[in-house]
């Protein structure tokens, strides 16, 4: 089956899930055409070949400089109509989801969102997707063409890049038409490793503020003192994350108490993550938190309370004070990793 893979990028930098999606498409046994939209994105074509694309369709257009979903859909839908692939894959990013959704409306077909497994039944892809934040798994199919699927990141292996590998590059003209939005500017990037792409996540919960040994500066209200304590606690977590090249996560309780921004929240109403290693510090393990991280390969829990539900999910646990264990773990890991 002719398969197209959309290469999602932010300002010319591909998200790793784009390459994983090429791998996912190849695992279905089809030749892969990567489709790349943007301005000055030739380097992405080269990378797409190296990650396994057999063909690249590339549209370079100044109206595609900023990702605007309407503009991208206006460009992509006619290309897909003309080439008529049976399968169109996107990585599941917020851009990928929405672009897939709009193209599905344009082409009168459907989208299977955030898929974690695919198998072929003739020309039909039977996809598995987690629903209710992973509490259930749905098998789903799309009975129209193209079958549009967005593939969850960090599930399918990223193909080994073959330097110098190449294929057929087709540059196409697109008509972006009227795109109704203007991007006025970008805020400062949040920096650090993003939760979605992270192989390792170190998270903190309400327990991070619970260090009675610290004396907050004079004149703070109780709330301010709590946040101040939590910041000292999160500094320990950030140190460990630095050594492990990890992203920093948090429970909703920590976010709600203003210890850390919402962007760091893991869980059913935060980010759903699946790193290789998830270290939960001072997190009780409420069902909404577990829903966001249960698919992590190895879970480590550090918690004072031996009955905390998080231990039921964890491979390794330490019953103790995170303010003592986390800095000691940072030192130990630093030594083992030769840092």
């Amino acid at each position: 089956m002719k398969t197209w893979v959309y290469i999602d990028h932010f300002k010319g930098e591909a998200v790793p899930a784009s390459w994983e999606t090429i791998g996912a498409a190849k695992s279905l046994g089809s030749d892969v055409t990567a489709v790349i939209l943007g301005t000055g994105v030739d380097a992405l074509a080269k990378a797409a070949f190296e990650y396994g694309a057999d063909e690249v369709v590339l549209a370079d257009n100044s109206a595609l400089e900023d990702f605007r979903v309407e503009a991208y859909a206006n460009a992509l839908s006619p290309l897909v109509t003309d080439a008529a692939p049976g399968l169109l894959l996107f990585p599941t990013t917020s851009r990928g989801r929405e672009l897939a959704g709009m193209v599905a409306i344009d082409l009168n077909t459907g989208v299977l969102v955030d898929v974690i497994a695919m198998e072929l039944d003739g020309d039909k892809v039977v996809a598995t997707r987690p629903i209710y934040a992973g509490k259930l798994l749905q098998k789903t199919v799309c009975n129209a063409s193209p079958q549009i699927i967005t593939v969850r990141g960090r599930i399918f292996a990223k193909p080994e890049a073959e330097p110098g590998r190449s294929g057929t590059l087709t540059k196409v003209d697109v008509n972006v038409g009227d795109a109704p939005t203007t991007v006025e500017g970008y805020g400062e990037s949040t920096g650090g490793v993003s939760l979605a792409d992270a192989g390792v996540i170190v998270s903190g919960g309400r327990g991070v503020s619970n260090n009675p040994n610290l004396t907050p500066p004079d004149g703070m209200s109780d709330d301010e003192a709590e946040v101040w304590r939590a910041q000292q606690g999160f500094a320990l977590i950030t140190d460990l994350a630095g050594v492990l090249n990890a992203a920093v996560g948090a429970s909703r309780a920590a976010v709600d108490a203003n210890y850390i921004p919402y962007a760091n929240q893991v869980g059913q109403t935060g980010k759903v993550v699946s790193p290789d290693l998830y270290i939960a510090n001072g997190i009780s393990g409420a069902i909404q938190h577990l829903a966001g991280m249960r698919n992590s390969k190895v879970i480590v829990a550090i918690n004072k309370d031996p009955d905390a539900p998080i231990f039921k999910m964890a491979r390794y646990g330490v019953v103790g004070d995170l303010h003592e264990i986390v800095p000691a773990l940072t030192v130990a890991m630093k030594a083992k990793l030769g840092k």
């Binding site: 599905a104 969102v113 209710y132 646990g317 330490v318 130990a332 990793l337």
Partner: protein, 252 residues
């Protein structure tokens, strides 16, 4: 200014979901308004217009509508039709777009970022596409000036400022600010509200073809983890043992 907010009724986020004979069951856990949609209602109410709340679903969905009425929405409409019972997101977008058009003169249509049952997160963008309106999704703040609007979007790579003209579709994220609680007066008013029901004939559309099917629903494979508690000695000794275990997993 006429404003619409779309809300969905879903099982509580604390519900224990199990697949029973291929159907999702949440025991006696309550159905609630989708938590993301409370942020959408909050944003809609802050725009200072007449807010109509719309939900597509069965009779149960009236409870989500009443919650939004109790928060302060003026009117509620239940979009309900047997032919919409198992519709996919494309179908939902078409039905919601038709309802928005029937309400007429709508300048802003608010959505949550995702429904916590199906976890699709694409209905706002798809509804915008059907309407031909800009999709200002993942919005954390909104400034309206006449017919133009500027929003701050909260996306993976950080904040982004985007402008567009109304009418437009918005999806609202948590950064927008906490939703208000229903007031006592609001709850009383909502409990007495008459909620009109719009079927496909009222919407003036054919049953949208539902091309996505979900033939199977399963419980995730049981994770057989039994936790190994690392203990004995000082924090340094415990950390040393834990570090060895982590290294032995060969994932770093």
């Amino acid at each position: 200014m006429k404003i619409v907010v779309c809300v969905k009724q879903v099982p509580d986020s604390a519900a224990n979901l199990v697949a029973e004979n291929g159907v999702a069951s949440w025991g006696d856990a309550p159905l609630v308004i989708n938590p993301w949609d409370e942020y959408a209602v909050e944003a809609a109410l802050n725009m200072g217009g007449d807010v109509t709340v719309v939900s597509m679903g069965d009779e149960n969905a009236k409870e989500a509508l009443k919650h939004a009425l109790a928060m302060g929405c003026q009117e509620a409409i239940l979009v309900s039709d047997p032919a919409l019972a198992n519709v996919d997101t494309q179908g939902a977008a078409k039905a919601l777009a038709a309802a928005i058009e029937k309400i007429g003169d709508v300048k802003m249509a608010f959505f949550g970022r995702q429904a916590i049952d199906g976890d699709a997160g694409i209905t706002p963008a798809q509804t915008a596409r059907v309407l031909g309106w800009p999709a200002l999704t993942f919005t954390a703040s909104i400034a309206v000036d006449g017919d133009s609007v500027k929003v701050e979007r909260s996306v993976e790579e950080g904040r982004q400022t985007v402008s567009a003209n109304l009418p437009a579709v918005f999806s609202i994220v948590k950064d927008y600010g906490e939703p208000r609680y229903p007031s006592f007066m609001g709850i009383r008013k909502a409990s007495k509200a008459e909620i009109p029901l719009w079927g496909l004939t009222d919407l003036g559309i054919e049953a949208p073809a539902s091309v996505v099917e979900w033939p199977e629903l399963n419980n995730p494979p049981a994770k057989d983890v039994s936790v190994e508690i690392i203990e004995g000695g000082s924090p340094t000794e415990i950390a040393e043992k834990l570090a060895d275990k982590i290294m032995a997993e060969k994932i770093l």
